[in-house]
């Protein structure tokens, strides 16, 4: 079989930064090739090189027989490319966007009619052809982006993180659409490249290239990748209240590669050749073998035998009495649009509470009201016993906030950033010095203390952001999608720290659209379209959707089942 694309000895560097190094890849027709890796791994750069939008620094990129460094235009007729932000014209309607792409590909009238009708049916966009693309929901934009990229039946379809920020139901739908189109185009030798940070998507790909910090960690079918883990993955049942403590205690033990919280069990990955875990000795009730997942393999490869260090946390004030956060009938309207609609919940001291929902569900708006950055239209929000409407300045001194994007000063060094935030929080000179010294030690930042923050790896930046948010010893910590897009090891380390903080009495409120983050929460609230749909522990939420057909539902299954409108309502 002739490959659709071949990459050899590829290296791409710009302004001194090496984005990709020593990459080799063969893209075969008939399958979905996954380019998998955390943020800043080089996925987008690789896709742009495949699309001929960048010139490689060294090496060769051949697509459909054309050298993309010299002859990219010749290959463009047969490439469908969807960039990360879909590349749609937001002030054009669905139909006008499709018609533009049809024109660009010189499609004759009858063929275009047939293809557009078919794609509209497929993507269920037919009822909204007259709507402006900018007014579509995230999931629908994604589908339109797909439709535009697929219109001319490309032989090579390049999708750059098509599923990021989309709710789980749309994510599955998207996967189904691409699989169906691939099945249809298989005879013509069509192939798909799907870049993603979601490791669960990697398992469904025909072949996977695992990237980490610009280098290839592994490549081949996912089964090859998982084979070495066979018989090494276990689930240990533990009491729910003890799971974080036990996880911290057993992680450094001999033979343990990975310990992750998965509902009310701990997922253990044992070193190759290590004996099966002993439930009683580890403090659990039972242990069963389980099938390895892609993430287990990633951790196994990244960890490289080094045991996980226990997470250190800064000293914490003893918690006061009463609920940490109390929200009643909170409403926020923007004009005619209700972003948050009568949301009520309460978070106990020392609890990790998650607000889970797709982009645009109202998570960030709720968050901003709790931080006192936005006034509610109706309802009340008490944080640390203070009414955020009246005493927000006082209450704000008692909360720490870590934004989704790296919100520290990229031009300052790690130490300067910490000193700056300590000053902002009003710490005196001596307290400031002590707090910064302490943060550098506990967050393992001493070696990079004088490096410029903007150029640190993602995981280190994240440690720094957390250290800065904790400098003033807050009672409540707000986290906005703290670990979306980071590699699993960094995520483990991060949540291990958060768990230790919660056990010490700090209340944690997390927003996320990322199911893996939800697993670490004590309790969850699922929000969708501004409404709070359900609250409960991860185990309770899973139990609600357990059926004979689905004996062990994941949180994602639970999310989809709980958010989905009753059957039949969607047909309209």
């Amino acid at each position: 079989m002739i490959p659709l694309a071949e990459i050899r000895g590829l290296r791409h560097a710009f302004s001194g930064h090496v984005a990709l190094d020593d990459v080799a890849l063969t893209i075969a027709p008939g399958i979905i090739t996954g380019i998998v890796g955390p943020d800043a791994a080089g996925k987008t750069t690789l896709l742009r090189l495949l699309a001929g939008l960048l010139r490689p620094t060294a090496g060769e990129v051949m697509v459909l027989g054309h050298d993309m460094a010299r002859d990219a235009a010749a290959a463009h007729r047969d490439i469908g490319y969807m960039p990360q932000r879909f590349g749609l014209y937001e002030d054009l309607t669905v139909a006008e966007n499709l018609s533009l792409f049809a024109d660009l590909h010189r499609m004759p009238a009858d063929l275009r009619r047939e293809r557009i009708a078919r794609l509209l049916r497929f993507t269920t966009l037919a009822p909204v052809t007259g709507r402006l693309a900018g007014q579509l929901s995230g999931g629908m934009k994604q589908k339109l982006g797909h439709a535009c990229a697929l219109l001319a039946r490309p032989r090579l379809l390049l999708l750059d993180e098509p599923s990021v920020g989309v709710d789980p139901a749309s994510r599955r739908e998207l996967w189904a659409i691409v699989s169906d189109m691939l099945a249809e185009g298989r005879e013509e030798g069509m192939g798909v490249v799907w870049a993603t940070a979601y490791l669960d998507e990697a398992e469904r790909c025909g072949s996977v290239l695992l990237l980490h910090e610009g280098r290839v960690l592994a490549s081949g079918p996912p089964a090859d990748f998982l084979a070495p883990l066979e018989g090494r993955v276990w689930r240990l049942a533990v009491p729910a209240a003890e799971r974080r403590r036990i996880a911290r205690a057993i992680a450094p033990l001999e033979g343990m590669v990975d310990v992750a919280i998965q509902g009310d069990t701990l997922r253990l990955v044992r070193a190759a050749g290590a004996p099966p875990p002993d439930a009683a000795a580890l403090g659990g009730s039972s242990v069963i073998a389980t099938a390895p997942r892609f993430e287990d393999g990633f951790v196994d490869r990244l960890a490289d035998g080094a045991p996980i260090q226990p997470a250190a946390i800064p000293p914490v004030r003893p918690p006061a009495d009463g609920p940490a956060i109390e929200v009643r009938d909170l409403v926020r309207r923007f004009g005619a649009f209700t972003a948050v609609d009568r949301v009520s919940f309460s978070v106990a001291r020392g609890e990790i509470f998650g607000l889970l929902g797709p982009n645009g569900a109202g998570k960030s708006t709720t968050f901003r009201m709790l931080c006192g950055l936005l006034a509610p239209s109706a309802g009340t929000a008490h944080v640390a016993g203070q009414d955020m409407l009246r005493a927000s300045a006082d209450a704000r001194a008692r909360i720490g906030y870590m934004a989704q994007r790296f919100s520290l000063y990229g031009e300052l060094s790690v130490r300067e950033n910490l000193m700056f935030f300590a000053r902002v929080y009003g710490l005196g000179l001596r307290a400031r010095r002590a707090a910064v010294m302490d943060a550098l030690t506990r967050f393992d930042l001493e070696t990079v203390a004088d490096s410029v923050a903007g150029q640190l790896p993602l995981g280190v930046k994240q440690r720094l952001a957390l250290a800065a948010a904790l400098l003033h010893g807050p009672e409540i910590l707000f986290l906005d999608e703290p670990t979306s897009g980071v590699d699993p090891l960094t995520r483990r380390a991060f949540w291990s720290r958060i768990g230790a903080l919660a056990d010490a009495g700090v209340t944690i409120l997390v927003t996320s659209h990322f199911m893996d983050e939800a697993e670490y929460c004590d309790r969850l609230a699922i929000v969708n379209a501004g409404r709070l749909i359900v609250t409960g522990t991860p185990a309770e939420l899973r139990a609600r959707v357990r059926t004979a057909a689905q004996p062990d539902p994941t949180l994602e299954d639970a999310f989809i089942a709980l958010v989905a409108p009753p059957a039949g309502a969607q047909a309209a």
């Binding site: 710009f14 742009r48 699309a51 001929g52 939008l53 960048l54 010139r55 990219a72 235009a73 463009h76 007729r77 490439i79 490319y81 969807m82 960039p83 990360q84 932000r85 879909f86 590349g87 749609l88 014209y89 937001e90 002030d91 054009l92 006008e96 018609s99 533009l100 792409f101 049809a102 024109d103 660009l104 590909h105 010189r106 499609m107 004759p108 402006l132 535009c148």
Partner: protein
């Protein structure tokens, strides 16, 4: 037919975007109107009804005639005062622009043969040298007119010298007639560049440029569609500005519309291509807007001859103005509005515009590669 499909698709897209997004229409039509009104009414080089304090120490028939002559001038407003201190106070308060003093002996000296002529003293507030010069000119002019009238009477038998002044091209000496054509050139150099600079930078920001570059559309088609659609928009804006000049400012138009169209087209191609070039380099709406202002507004204002006469600039600066395409358009517009279609003057300027337009398009094509790096 098939070969033209990408261009058709891109053109349709541009037209739809222009009508969906008000910002392009605002730049094309509202900005020129605002600038024309602000500059057309605001920058007026003629001063009208300037208050002039007049002190006559010994009134006589001649001094009365002189005051009458000054008062008859539409540019002056005579304020009679009793002392120089009063006049100085008026000037300090800004209630008088200047003060004319006719001493006690003025009338007697005027009528006696003497080695010493009759002297009048003129004091002018010279904070703004331009206005000061104008005031001086008007007072001198009024005095000269009166003196000439006297002389004609005195030497009626012998004929004497009478100067008949005619002001060509702008007989009413209305500075609007001179300024407004220049403002049109200024407005077009700004809007044209701003239109494409902002719109293409937005495509980079929103990531749509990336998907266009990866599509089978050629670079030429992408640029042609942008230039073509905004060319039509810019030309309509230009016609609107000319209509405002003629209908609202009452500036005469004496040249041919064909020449106007040729000059505007060449200039628009230049400014639109410059905008494309800027946005390709900046890829960010904010920086693109800054650059567009810096590269078009400043030179067009200072070096195009729109306000400041190029002939009175130092030599090296005059050379620099040849690099400002707006100067060619200003020359052509002033010629077409005030003088008529004077080909020997218009052709070299048209050639200058053609060179500028070609250079801008070539530079844009060279810089806009199908690459992100």
């Amino acid at each position: 037919m098939n070969a033209l499909l990408p261009l058709r698709g891109l053109l349709v897209k541009e037209v739809l975007q222009i009508f969906r997004d008000p910002s392009a229409l605002l730049i094309a039509f509202l900005l020129p109107v605002i600038l024309l009104f602000v500059d057309g009414f605001g920058i007026s080089l003629d001063a009208k009804r300037m208050p002039l304090a007049v002190l006559i120490e010994a009134p006589a028939a001649d001094t009365r005639d002189i005051v009458q002559a000054l008062a008859n001038s539409p540019y002056l407003e005579v304020v009679r005062i009793a002392s120089t201190t009063e006049g100085a106070a008026l000037i300090t308060k800004g209630e008088a622009r200047g003060m004319l003093v006719l001493r006690e002996d003025f009338a007697t000296r005027l009528r006696t043969q003497s080695r010493w002529p009759a002297r009048a003293q003129l004091l002018v507030n010279a904070t703004d040298p331009n206005t000061a010069g104008i005031l001086e000119g008007y007072v001198q002019g009024a005095l000269a007119t009166w003196a000439a009238g006297q002389a004609r009477e005195a030497v009626r038998s012998g004929g004497g010298i009478g100067v008949d002044a005619r002001f060509w091209f702008n007989p009413a000496l209305r500075s609007a007639d001179f300024i407004v054509p220049g403002v049109i050139a200024f407005v077009m150099s700004m809007t044209g560049t701003l239109l494409t600079a902002l719109i293409v930078a937005r495509e980079w920001e929103r990531g749509t440029m990336e998907s266009m570059l990866a599509s089978p559309a050629g670079m030429g088609e992408l640029i042609l569609a942008k230039l073509g659609s905004y060319f039509v928009l810019g030309l309509l804006a230009m016609l609107g500005a000319v209509a405002i000049a003629i209908l609202i400012f009452g500036v005469p138009f004496r040249g041919s519309f064909g020449a106007l169209l040729a000059a505007s087209s060449l200039f628009l191609i230049f400014s639109l291509a410059l905008g494309l070039l800027i946005s390709t380099l900046a890829r960010n709406q904010f920086v693109a807007a800054q650059l567009a202002f810096l590269l078009t507004m400043m030179p067009a204002m200072m070096l195009s001859g729109m306000i400041f006469d190029i002939a009175s600039m130092p030599g090296w600066l005059q050379t620099v103005t040849y690099g400002v395409p707006a100067r060619y358009l200003v020359d052509i517009l002033q010629c077409l509005f005030l003088a008529g279609t004077v080909w020997p003057l218009i052709l070299p300027n048209l050639a200058g515009l053609a060179v500028a337009a070609t250079a801008a398009v070539v530079a844009t094509l060279a810089v806009t590669r199908r690459r992100l790096d």
